[in-house]
């Protein structure tokens, strides 16, 4: 029985529920192992005048204290621009930026010693907010631009225009397992690094650079992460490099595990954005032109900020056709930790802008916002409105069907009428309802990253090991690939084992990101299976022909139910058990292992021209959300959600559903209560779960329907599936639009009321809009 399409449990679920699944902090210590702590910059900007480590060096249990001078290799790294030092040696650019590394016999000793380090800095003025960076023209990378048509002309001739400023705050990944790495020194300066990373190849290369050795002398492994969400795409290499530095100097294994607060304070997050927009539209709410200038708070170093901004520009249309568009994006350099990938990767910051604009257009025209959205949807096959502002045709989708089905299944019209009635009479509460959509481009926008490789080993007993460049962070990648491989050989799932991801087995890999983990690595694994099967089929054809006196016909060889068979032989006894078959094949010197490779076809983008097909396909969906807001306190409750997505043929409906729900709720967190607050020195105040509030189980809507829509038009990609990791996150924006809708009932005038609502819509933010009370200092509420 094929396993694809079945709701098999997560590969590691048994380990999760018994506590047997090990994470880096859980690995048994080797003899002599050291704990590593890092001491960071006390200020956001300045030059180091002196570093006093003497007291720390003498502290009990301390084995070594290291600074930039002790790095054998280069002190610079970075995924796009090599602009970030491992250890600051002169300039410091954010609070907590690593300066000193301490190695001690125990965690407690290392922590105590860390407190004894004195870093003297000549402070310089820090740039913290986007506004401050704009004023200082403090940029990361060049301005990016995409344009189509003549926006100015569209604006001048349009019956209606609106303009505004849209602000969204950053978001902490809040993976449960903090950044962690264990470095184990090998012979002759070689290094093995076990890292909680989405990006073993990058970690390998960064560690090699830091140590001044070749990549061939460094191995990076990752069994599983306790969550990643993008936060371990680039930034996991810093702790890995620091642990490796200690291991190199001491010759002892070295482990680093960030505490939660340290992790939140020093690692990058989703970028805060501020975008100035103008929109032109007709009486029906049809978009005629859109211009948006986006600025993101990139933090102190480039990290992935420019790439994140590209994806924002690619998603300012979301699911809607823009006849004329002029969009620009600039990442700002500030004195915060370098912001980085987080599920959605700039997409949410683009999608939220257009969804907010559509909500405002509806409000301005007195139209239903769902009607306005429907009028603007990309229409499959209609050349007048199926091309994005960057020139890619949006094809083979079911966006219109999704909206219609949701409208019905969520009782949208009836509930809208009830809400209007409720709002007219309730003294203390006001409700809102909104539908928003998503069309999310699948592929890395950096073309070369769209590749994957995998190793498949079939043993002579018929069991199989699979290893890919993809990493498991809970998303179920390994579970899905295991299913794909088991089906390919017609095996029960237990006979296939997923191995720890390691740069020894898969080389030059891309990060597990951009929702493309299964697409790339699953396809690569299948490619490896195909090579092995070709050899098996050739051999099996010989065997069946010889045993049964039949003409040799490889096309008749079948792999199913743990047997190899010839389709022409009805007798079950004629089948060969897979294990026996493999043993025989080996004795006949058939190669039962293979490495598979996959590169996504037909993608290209010309950044100069702003034209091309950056995406292999799009994952789409929509959600209808209802909220209730207390008119007096701004407290909001989330009453109901109906989510409908097209994710193609599901490889594992249990895993996929989990991705949709988990992503959606993370998006809800971003737009509601996840608020990063900094002090005026640039120190993060909301730096633990006590003050940074991710959604709780009681924040789930009591009515929560998650469904999937069929899309027979989607025929590409592994098993005709679609990537599912990121897209649902952006449906959380429906909650925010529902809040905006609710505020529109409160008679607050257009300038101070619902129109000024920012992300996140915390109780404080909602009450600010409701009462149009003086805006608290920007730095203190939204974060810079």
């Amino acid at each position: 029985m094929p396993t694809v399409g079945q709701k098999l449990p997560h590969d590691s679920a048994r380990g999760h529920v018994t506590g047997e699944a090990l994470y880096i902090e859980d690995l048994p210590a080797t003899v002599g192992e050291l704990w590593v702590e890092c001491v960071g910059s006390p200020v956001a900007a300045g030059r180091i005048a002196a570093i006093d480590v003497e007291a720390a060096r003498r502290a009990p249990g301390v084995v070594g204290v290291f600074t930039a001078r002790d790095l054998p290799g280069r002190n610079h790294f970075g995924p796009i621009f090599h602009d970030e030092p491992f250890l600051a040696d002169d300039e410091v650019s954010y609070i907590g930026q690593p300066v000193v590394v301490i190695a001690a016999e125990s965690r407690a000793a290392a922590r105590k010693a860390a407190k004894l380090v004195k870093i003297e800095v000549v402070e310089q003025p820090a740039l913290l907010s986007i506004d401050a960076a704009i004023a200082a023209k403090s940029w990361l990378g060049p301005l990016k631009k995409i344009a189509r048509g003549d926006f100015d002309a569209a604006l001048a001739s349009a019956p209606h225009q609106l303009s505004g400023v849209f602000e969204s705050g950053g978001q902490e990944q809040f993976y449960f397992e903090s950044q962690a790495a264990l470095a184990i020194p090998g012979e002759f300066g070689q290094m093995r690094v076990i890292s909680s990373t989405q990006n073993p190849t990058e970690t390998q290369s960064v560690v090699a650079e830091a140590l001044g050795v070749g990549m061939h002398e460094v191995i990076c492994e990752c069994k599983r992460m306790g969550g990643g969400f993008g936060g371990k795409e680039t930034q996991s290499s810093i702790p890995a490099a620091l642990a490796a530095l200690v291991a190199r100097h001491t010759g002892r294994a070295a482990r680093i595990v960030y505490g939660k607060t340290a992790d939140m304070c020093v690692t990058g997050k989703r970028h805060a954005y501020k975008s100035w927009w103008k929109v032109a539209f007709d009486d029906e709410g049809r978009l005629l032109g859109l211009s948006v200038e986006c600025y993101s708070n990139g933090g102190a170093f480039a990290d992935l900020s420019t790439s994140v901004m590209e994806r924002t520009l690619f998603h300012l249309d979301n699911a809607y056709y823009l006849p004329a568009a002029h969009v620009t994006g600039q990442a700002c350099r500030t004195n915060l930790p370098p912001n980085t990938a987080f599920r959605g990767f700039g997409g949410p910051q683009g999608v939220a802008v257009i969804e907010s604009i559509l909500q405002e257009i509806a409000e301005k025209l007195g139209l239903d916002a769902l009607d306005v959205r429907r009028r603007n949807l990309y229409r499959d096959g209609d050349e007048t409105c199926n091309t994005t502002h960057y020139g890619q045709v949006v094809r083979d989708h079911v966006l219109a069907e999704t909206l219609s089905e949701l409208e019905k299944s969520s009782d949208y019209r009836l509930r809208m009428a009830l809400i209007e009635e409720f709002n007219a009479r309730h003294p203390t509460l006001v409700k809102g309802l909104a539908l928003t959509a998503i069309k999310f481009g699948i592929s890395f926008t950096t073309k070369f990253l769209n590749q994957g490789n995998a190793l498949v080993n079939v043993f002579m007993d018929g069991t199989v090991q699979v290893s890919t460049g993809g990493t498991e962070m809970g998303q179920g990648l390994n579970t899905k690939i295991r299913q794909l491989v088991a089906d390919e050989f017609g095996l029960e799932i237990e006979r296939v084992l997923m191995l720890t991801t390691s740069t020894e087995k898969s080389i030059n890999t891309s990060p597990t990101a951009a929702s493309a983990g299964t697409d790339l690595n699953g396809a690569a694994a299948l490619e490896a299976c195909k090579q092995i099967k070709e050899r098996m089929v050739a051999y099996a054809a010989d065997v069946f022909a010889a045993q049964n006196k039949l003409p040799r016909d490889p096309a008749q060889v079948r792999f199913a139910e743990n047997f190899v068979s010839d389709a022409r032989l009805a007798d079950p006894a004629a089948r060969i058990p897979f294990g026996e078959f493999c043993g025989r094949a080996r004795r006949e010197r058939v190669d039962l292992g293979a490495r598979g490779f996959f590169a996504t076809p037909n993608i290209h983008f010309d950044f100069e021209a702003g034209r091309g097909n950056p995406f292999f396909y799009y994952t789409t969906g929509a959600a209808v959300c209802e909220v209730t807001i207390d008119r007096f306190t701004g407290e909001m409750t989330f009453d109901r959600a109906d989510v409908l997505m097209d994710i193609g043929q599901q490889i594992n409906p249990g895993v996929d559903r989990g991705q949709v729900i988990g992503g959606f709720i993370q998006g809800v967190g971003w737009v509601t209560n996840e608020e990063l607050r900094y002090d005026d020195r640039g120190a993060l105040l909301s730096n633990g779960p006590t003050t940074y509030k991710i959604p709780n189980i009681t924040d789930l809507p009591p009515v929560f329907n998650v469904n999937f829509i069929d899309n027979p038009k989607h025929t590409i990609n592994v098993g005709r599936s679609k990537a599912v990791g990121e897209p649902p996150l952006m449906l959380g924006i429906a909650v925010w639009c529902a809040a905006k809708h609710a505020l529109s009932f409160m008679g607050a005038d257009q300038s101070s009321g619902s129109r000024s609502l920012r992300i996140p819509a915390t109780g404080e933010e909602l009450l600010r809009c409701i009462s149009a009370m003086p805006t608290p200092v920007a730095d203190c509420t939204l974060g810079p």
Partner: protein
Amino acid sequence: MRDHLVFYLNGCRQQVGDSRALLTLAEFLRQEQGLTGTKVVCAEGDCGACAVLMGRPEATSQEDGDLVYRAIDSCVALLFQLDGCHVVTVEGLACGGKLSPVQQAMVDCHGSQCGFCTPGFVTTLHGLVETQSHHEPLTSVGGGLSAEALRYALSGNLCRCTGYQQIIEAGESINLATTPRLAELYPDPKLKSELFATVKDDVALAPQNGASPWQVFAPSSLEAALEWRAKHPQAKIVSGATDVGVQRNHGKLELAEVLVLNRIGELTEISVTDGVLHLGAGATWTAVEEAVRELLPEYHAVLTRFGSPQIRNFGTIGGNFVNASPIADSLPLHFVLDAELELASMRGVRRVPITEFYRGYKQIDLAPDELLVGIRTPLPVENERVKLYKISKRRDMDISTVTAAIAVTLEGKTISRARIALGGVGPVVLRMPAVEEFLTDAELTADTMREAGKLARQAIKPLTDVRGSGDYRLQLVENLLAKSYFDLQEVSAGSAPLPR
């Protein structure tokens, strides 16, 4: 007098008399026992990843002789608090080599993704199953757990990956009838008899051979506690450690000389006499929550949002009062009901009105030899209405930004007496005498309350902090009083809050 702790861990006897007693339970499990299934994420009681089950003899259980198991956060529990307990971790839940029905449900329903939060959910779910045999059933039809009961019980467990829905589905699929309770998983009579036998011992721990000085005293009687307290006025008092443990993990507190109160049965008593509610300082929030369900439904509603179930299972009302946070959720009610605190020492017992107990930010009227032993609160009278508010960023497991209690006594539509207390707007919880005076003899109307809100706003100068700006707090206070007009129509001391 015993010089070591005795407790059981996953059915095995443990004896600790050395400085390991000063570790948190999570540290002990992970570092000393290699039980790494228990995860530590925040080390401040705010995520539930470290939740384990703690079984101990409780007042209600003494007759039938069963331990009562409850989930607690092991990252803030200290080993020295666990004398006489049976600790069960995620590793101790499998039944005869097979996954427990709870574990199996989590596997089958995709209740885990990255798995880091999962051990905490599994133990807490088992804790919920346990309560089914001891308290009124929270069950729905079909012998399973209802979504509502699950949300309530799991509100102290965060998960970043799953979005919770599949965890709720896992919970709903658990068959309560066939899920073994911990007493069945650990039937060894020796375990129970030995733990029950510990109840009467006083435990005194100190370094064996003059290593760095520390000492812990965990008496079983108030008398012994007071006596020791008089001799050790510097010692840190620990009840549930849900404040102390966090401070210790943040490096703000070194635990060297400790008086542990959580084994003193007489401190946990709760009673009502002559219209006065007496809450023993050692009563856990879970116990208080149960006790006030009918007596003070408004209070009960706030307490269901106090910390998390794990925090309420171990944290005490006395610790909350002495911790003296201006945003303590418990305080405003007791302020408007004119509660008195009972303070005991070898010199005797004295009673202090709550408004006089708090003298300034974290300044309280407690002598170095005294312990808080109880809180006496007159219950609302017939025509008195009480409305409580807890405003926090997130509904559950969040510290308040502003708290408020509004009590009015009504003669017809006229307010004959008004008492208002606000938290989070000053260094201590504040009564609002000017507003109270304004309201006295006024008619309860929307306008009156709106005006009262404006007055209250003028009486406070709240600070800006990570939980909210000063402006926000001002606006909240003004609006809460205005809003209370509507809520006071709905509530009385004996009715439920306005449905949402």
